[in-house]
Every structure is written in structure tokens, then in C-alpha cells.
């Protein structure tokens, strides 16, 4: 896996705050925390589990810590940091090349401002990894990038070719103005893809695609298009995916649900349960810019209200998301060797009444809830 630590976390943030949970003993780069529960993220839950972090990576997860390393007890449950599958909050529209519908090689990582104040709000909701995407109204707006908003690290560039295949990408003022025109362009780009271009990479399977599609009709077309060109990746949108389970399952594509607002219809919420039952992978977008930083958690909770089990909700925000992005070797669960991105929740991680009391990214404390102690965080 390609990890490009473009920005060293130390540049963006000073040393971890000396808060209540900072290392008290042992190696300067090692610490151990014990929580009432540790959610590994692969379904395992360790009661009174201990997580040991060394040099920003997880060294062990289990019942105890190595000898000589003091264990700090925290009040709450530890879970992997959440992965938001679409958010460009901190891009300030720099992810939207409005003059063109096709900018397939545009690198969204270049729209990432690690110091943008909006990121801190996402981190405070337990989100440690974000997929930055081009704007939804482009057709091939560029290449998605995985970033760590708390550390400023660019985790992976060019993770997926982002394709807008919904009505949002159809304009009244520039070509194309129709689905027929949209697909004619896409067809031309994929059929005539030059070697090494993102379209050719997507056809060969070297690059994933993230295909935005909303109505059942749009989803059916996107799936057919993916089959035609052998594309792998996910559909973003698909609020009525629950009606198209067989189609989605046969396609091998995953689904990324958009945030639900309180008054939204129940389709998405029920779709999540249906996809879970069928074994179709799904994750969530956060879109904090339009829905607020807690939108992803709220959406997962709404899905739980409509029958999705807590484990399924947690997986969608952690392991499944990492799998869909191809970064499960480093992200998504609390397993040995993975990046130490995790959150101490005041209760169950998928419970809306829980607060993220402490957020660690790359093994460093990057957020501490003001109510969790008398200390203030460095941010």
C-alpha cells in the first residue's frame, strides 16, 4: 500500500497534549489504555481490554499490557476511528473545477488544507479518516484522496476515480444537459481511454470508481455501465438500494449512503438493513459542510432505528469503509500493526448519547472533550 506522509503530523500539531490519558510510564513512544470495552472492529469486543500503542501504530490489543508499561484506565469504550466516505468540508470548493465536467486526473489531495478549522469538528465526532472527493456535480471530477484530518497526513492519493452519474452532474448551461449526453461522454472516455489514463486504470481494475447515482434508474444504469467496462468500487447515493439488493449484490459494487436528516424518508435507513442482510458492503458519507459534523453518526443511528444492528453500523463506519477503499491493511480495525486511529467513547460507539471523550490519530491525542476532564485540548 502506498502511504504518502506528505505532511508530518508534528508540523501541523505540537506534541500531544499532556492530558489525563497521555503516557505516564514506559517508552516515550509507547502507551497503554484500558477501557471497559474495546471494539476491535472485526466483530470482536474485548471486555476490560487493553490497547497498546507504539510509534503511532497498534502494538497489541488484548487483556493486558506488556510488563513494565503502565496502563491508564479510561472511562468508556474504545473503537476504531470512523472513516467518512465523502467529505470535502475543508476544501472550500477547491475540489470543484466548475469550468469543466471532465478533469479525470485532478488530484483532490491538492484541495486538502490540513489547517482548515472545519476538520476539528469532524474529529470531535470520532472521524479520523476522510475521503475527499471532487464535487458531486462534476462527471469525472478527479481522483479521490484519503486524508487524516487530525494529523494532516495524506493517507492515499488516487484511491478512486470519482464519477458523477446522477442528475446533479447534468447542467442546464454546459454540455451535457441530458443523461444521453452524460453517458455518451462517459462511453467515449472509457472506450477510447489512453493507456495510463484514469479511465484505463479503472477499466483494468487498478483504480476503483466511486459512482454517484441517486434514483433507482440512475443506480441501474451505473451498475450496467460498471459491468460493461469491468469497473470495481462503489455507488454513492442509492437511497433506495434496499429495492435493488440483487442487482447490487451481483455487481460486486459497494454502496455509500449519503447523510440522512431527521425528517428524511425511511428508504436509506431501511436500505442499510437490507444490504447488511444480503452481505452487500456499505459505508457512509459525512458531508459535514451541508449536514454538520455529526451527520454520519446520526445517519448510522437512524439506520439502527430502522433495524440495522449496532455491529453493522460500526462496521460501516470502520472496517467495511477501509475494505472498500483498499486500505484495510492499515485502517478500519484495531489490529496489530495498524495505524493507531481510535476513539474513546463515553458509552457505546454507535449510541448517539455517547461522546468522543478522546480521539487518537496516528497514536497521538488529537481531541479531548472538554467535559472529559478539567484540561483543555491544544486545539
Amino acid at each position: 500500500m502506498l502511504i504518502l506522509p506528505i505532511l508530518v503530523s508534528a508540523l501541523a500539531f505540537s506534541a500531544p497534549a499532556t492530558a489525563a490519558v497521555s503516557p505516564a510510564a514506559g517508552s516515550a513512544d509507547s502507551f497503554a489504555l484500558q477501557a471497559s470495552r474495546v471494539h476491535v472492529g472485526d466483530g470482536r469486543v474485548i471486555e476490560n481490554g487493553v490497547i497498546v500503542v507504539t510509534d503511532g501504530a497498534i502494538r497489541s490489543v488484548g487483556a493486558s499490557a506488556p510488563e513494565g508499561l503502565s496502563v491508564r484506565k479510561v472511562d468508556g469504550e474504545i473503537a476504531p476511528g470512523f472513516i467518512a466516505m465523502r467529505d470535502a468540508t475543508g476544501a472550500d470548493s477547491e475540489n470543484n473545477e466548475t469550468t469543466r465536467k471532465f478533469t479525470p486526473t485532478a488530484d483532490v489531495a491538492r484541495a486538502f488544507d490540513p489547517h482548515h478549522p472545519a476538520w476539528a469538528h469532524l474529529v470531535s465526532e470520532g472521524i479520523t479518516t476522510v475521503v475527499m472527493t471532487p464535487a458531486s456535480d462534476r462527471i469525472a471530477g478527479g481522483l479521490d484522496a484519503i486524508v487524516s484530518p487530525a494529523t494532516g497526513e495524506i493517507v492515499k492519493r488516487g484511491v478512486a476515480l470519482h464519477l458523477g452519474m446522477s442528475s446533479r452532474s447534468i447542467s442546464n448551461f454546459v454540455e451535457p444537459t441530458s443523461y444521453a449526453g452524460l453517458y455518451a461522454h462517459l462511453d467515449r472516455h472509457f472506450a477510447d481511454a489512453a493507456d495510463g489514463s484514469p479511465f484505463a486504470q479503472a477499466r483494468s481494475g487498478a483504480t476503483r470508481v466511486m459512482m454517484e447515482a441517486l434514483s433507482k434508474n440512475e443506480v441501474a444504469r451505473a451498475v450496467a455501465f460498471a459491468k460493461q467496462y469491468g469497473l470495481t468500487g462503489a455507488i454513492i447515493g442509492a437511497p433506495e438500494a434496499g429495492d435493488q439488493v440483487d442487482l447490487l449484490k451481483s455487481s460486486g459494487l459497494g454502496v455509500v449512503f449519503e447523510p440522512l436528516d431527521a425528517g428524511d424518508r425511511a428508504d436509506v435507513a431501511e436500505s442499510a438493513k437490507a444490504l447488511r442482510a444480503a452481505g452487500v458492503p456499505f459505508a457512509f458519507a459525512s458531508d459535514a459542510g451541508t449536514h454538520g459534523p455529526a451527520a454520519m453518526r446520526m445517519t448510522a443511528a437512524t439506520c439502527m432505528r430502522r433495524g440495522l444492528d449496532a455491529q453493522g453500523a460500526l462496521a460501516a463506519m470502520t472496517k467495511t469503509a477501509a475494505d472498500m477503499l483498499g486500505v484495510s491493511a492499515s485502517h478500519g480495525t484495531l489490529e496489530v500493526g495498524k495505524v493507531a486511529d481510535f476513539v474513546v467513547w463515553s458509552g457505546a460507539p454507535t449510541d448517539l448519547t455517547s461522546r468522543a471523550t478522546h480521539v487518537f490519530a496516528g497514536g497521538k491525542l488529537v481531541h479531548e472533550s472538554e467535559r472529559s476532564s478539567s484540561h483543555h485540548t491544544h486545539r
Binding site: N172, A180, K216
Partner: protein, 433 residues
């Protein structure tokens, strides 16, 4: 079966090339099927495909006091037997079986020759004013709830043209209104038909409101003259282009000039109907070809019926407007259909998306304007089937045809009569029981 063609052959006004053109209109060019529909499947579609045992029942018998066949005959106390989606027997003077569906009257499923069940602005590619190869397979949504409304009104086949914002908008699509939620599951192979418009709509909105024009609208036509010029230029260029290798758009326009693809042109007021006819005649005069012309939305067709007879064009009338005026400020008289009937112009009625008065009521309006019930019935069944090139499959109640049948609770097209049951391809879509 008395066909419209026979009627035309008897009409003395129809001599020479115009007659040839109009007879070509009703042939079924086997080389011109609809474009291969999208390979999309849906939950219901894929389930139906994989589990044959779950396929919907498509064999029934239907008994009615009176069966209007659209072939000129009306049968009393008739039993219609449907086997595997096709009509297998029609027996007058019969009695109902125990398990027969029952209705007061039956007609063939209605056919709307101009049903805009499309995605509106997203159905037409406005970045160019002439887009012949844009296909409506991308402009319709099989999940659209308007299909259900249409089928509940008794319409079982619909032709969907693109929105009228382009001069040459693209190839329309012909679909059954019920069945699998996929285009491939619903498409009917008929005549290939290129759609476009003449009149005020393709040029509307083409002026920048203020400031520097920065969109494609500022080079599009802003007048009726400009719209007609676009048509003429596109056809002229196609006539001059080499027969092979000039691209999909030119190929389609060449097929229009060769009469293989019908030109379905929207024109509401007299001046636009004239322009469509003059365009056809100009192409004929110049030796470019014989256009098979269908004039859609021809609200003012009643004003100059002789012109239509001369042109050999078929006509699709718009729904009767509430205040007398259609778009483009055309005035549609109550007896428009009657005038066309008397002149011998083949015409179909249409009803938009059935949100207001459905197609059956449009037929009722036409009767109020002077048509007999039989004539009105033909205008919503066999005539549109002929115009669309699918009269071998739909449009009448005859043995061997698709079992698209409407069960009415009274005489069809009366305001107090309702479609209580609808069968599409032998599947009971609206259940009368």
C-alpha cells in the same frame, strides 16, 4: 381488418409521391429496430428472470357484454381467451367461465403516440440544437410512478419523444406501460422515429438575459426562421454527405430522407404545421428524399386539412386544452378530430401523462366534437399502432395479438366509465376483482 391505408388509397386527393410517402409510413422496416436497450436490470426484473416459477400469470379468460375490437366489428357477449400473453381465441355469443374476469365492455389497450413520460430537461441534450443520435433510452425512467398512472388510465403502449427544446431532439422510444422495470423488458420493436420540433419552444430561452453571453444558448436559434433553418441545414448536409462513414447523426438523417426513419415533428399552430409540410415538400422537390412525416401536437390541424392531405402526413393531436389554447398559443377546436376524419388524414389522440384528462377522456372529447365511438377508438388504438409501426402486435383485439386489454365498467370513453381492469401482455396489471 380495414386499415387506414385502404382509406388512404380511396382518397382521390392522395396521388403521386405523397401517397407513396404515406403508405411507407405504415410499413415495418425490419432493418430499423429500436436501439438495443440498456442492460440494466432491477430487483423485480432479475428475480422474475431467475425464477421462472414466479413469473406472473399471463393466461386468462375475459368475458364482456360487448367487445370493441378496433377492426370495425363489435362482438356481443364475447369471451376472450388469453394464452401465454397472447390472444388465443375470441368467441362471441359465449358465456363466462367460472374463473373469467368480467367487464361491461372491452377494448384493446390504448396507445398514446405522444406520451412525455420522460425526464424533462434531462431527456434532451441542449448543448447542440441538432442531436439525431441521442436516444430516449437514456431519457426515460422505468421506475417513474407516472407509468402506473398511465396504465391505470388504460394506456398499455406509449411512444415517448424527447422534450421539445431541441430542433432535432433524437430518437424516441416505444414502451409497454407495465411489465419488468427495465427498458429491455418493456421496449417494443416498431418503426424507428426521429423526433424534433418546429415552433417557439426550441428557440425559447435562447437569449442571454443580460450581460456577456457565456453559455451555448447564445448561438442557438432565437426565432422560428432559425429553427426551420436548422432543420433544413441538417437535412441538406445529410443529403450532401457521403453515404457511409459520416457519423451516426448523418446516418440517421439520411435514413429520414430515405423514408426508413419517420420524422416526428412537433408543430402546434398553423404556421408551424405549414413549415413542417413545406420542409417535407422542399426535400422532395430537391430530390433529397421522401420524408415520412408525423406532425405531433397539431392543434390547428383543423384549419388547413387539405394541406395535410396533400402532404400525406399523419397527425398526433395534443390533449384538448382547457382554455382552448395549447403551447405556442395554438387554438384547438373541439371538432379538430372530426375535420381530420372527414378529410381522410390519419390521426391519433394523445393525453400527456394522464395527470389531467386521460386518453379515454380525450377520445370522449373527440366524440363530443363529432367522431363516432368506433372512430374515436381507432384514434387511440389501431391508428397510433400503425403510425408507430407496431400494428402487427398491438392496436386491435384479434387472435395472435399481444393481450393488451382494457376492461371498462361501461361504454368506453364516457365520463362515467372507468378502466376497472388492465392486462398488459396477458398480465393482470389492474385487477377488476
Amino acid at each position: 381488418m380495414i386499415s387506414i391505408l385502404t382509406t388512404l388509397l380511396l382518397a382521390p386527393a392522395l396521388q403521386g409521391p405523397a401517397l407513396l410517402a404515406s403508405s411507407a409510413l405504415f410499413e415495418h422496416p425490419s432493418e430499423a429496430p429500436l436501439q438495443a436497450p440498456l442492460q440494466a436490470t432491477t430487483r423485480k426484473g432479475s428475480q422474475a428472470a431467475k425464477a421462472d416459477g414466479d413469473a406472473p400469470k399471463n393466461s386468462w379468460s375475459v368475458f364482456a357484454d360487448k367487445v370493441y375490437t378496433s377492426t370495425g366489428s363489435t362482438l356481443e357477449n364475447a369471451l376472450v381467451v388469453i394464452t401465454d400473453g397472447k390472444i388465443s381465441a375470441i368467441t362471441p355469443g359465449a358465456s363466462a367461465n367460472d374463473d373469467s374476469l368480467k367487464a361491461t365492455t372491452l377494448t384493446a389497450g390504448l396507445i398514446d403516440a405522444s406520451a412525455p413520460i420522460h425526464l424533462g430537461f434531462e431527456s434532451v441534450e441542449q448543448s447542440s440544437e441538432v442531436t439525431p443520435s441521442i436516444s430516449m433510452e437514456y431519457g426515460v425512467d422505468p421506475f417513474d410512478p407516472r407509468w402506473e398512472r398511465l396504465v391505470r388510465s388504460g394506456v398499455t403502449t406509449a411512444f415517448v419523444p424527447p422534450l421539445n427544446r431541441n430542433v432535432v431532439g433524437g430518437l424516441g422510444i416505444l414502451l409497454k406501460t407495465a411489465g419488468p422495470e427495465t427498458l429491455e423488458g418493456r421496449a417494443l420493436e416498431g418503426a424507428e422515429i426521429l423526433c424534433g420540433a418546429i415552433g417557439g419552444l426550441p428557440s425559447s430561452g435562447n437569449r442571454p438575459a443580460s450581460g456577456t453571453p457565456n453559455t451555448f444558448y447564445n448561438r442557438r436559434p432565437t426565432t422560428r426562421m432559425g429553427v426551420e433553418w436548422e432543420w433544413r441545414k441538417a437535412l441538406f448536409d445529410a443529403a450532401q454527405a457521403p453515404a457511409e462513414g459520416a457519423g451516426k447523426d448523418v446516418d440517421i438523417l439520411q435514413d429520414v430522407l430515405a423514408g426508413k426513419i419517420a420524422a416526428f415533428i412537433q408543430a402546434y399552430p398553423t404556421q408551424d404545421i405549414r413549415t413542417a409540410v413545406f420542409l417535407k415538400e422542399e426535400m422532395q422537390r430537391e430530390g433529397f428524399g421522401e420524408i415520412r412525416l408525423v406532425i405531433d401536437g397539431a392543434a390547428e390541424a383543423w384549419r388547413e386539412p387539405d394541406l395535410l392531405v396533400r402532404s400525406g402526413a399523419a397527425v398526433v393531436l395534443p390533449p384538448m386544452p382547457g382554455q382552448g389554447r395549447t403551447v405556442d398559443q395554438a387554438f384547438m377546436a373541439a371538432n379538430t378530430a372530426k375535420v381530420l376524419q372527414d378529410a381522410g388524414v390519419p390521426f391519433a389522440l394523445s393525453a400527456n401523462d394522464a395527470r389531467t384528462e386521460p386518453l379515454g377522456i380525450q377520445a370522449g372529447f373527440a366524440m363530443r366534437g363529432g367522431l363516432t365511438r368506433e372512430q374515436a377508438l381507432r384514434a387511440v388504438t389501431i391508428t397510433p399502432a400503425q403510425i408507430l409501426g407496431v400494428d402487427s402486435r398491438v392496436g386491435t383485439l384479434e387472435v395472435g395479438k399481444d393481450a393488451d386489454i382494457v376492461l371498462w365498467n361501461g361504454e368506453p370513453f364516457e365520463v362515467t366509465t372507468r378502466a376497472i381492469g388492465v392486462l398488459v401482455d396477458g398480465v393482470l396489471v389492474v385487477d377488476p376483482r
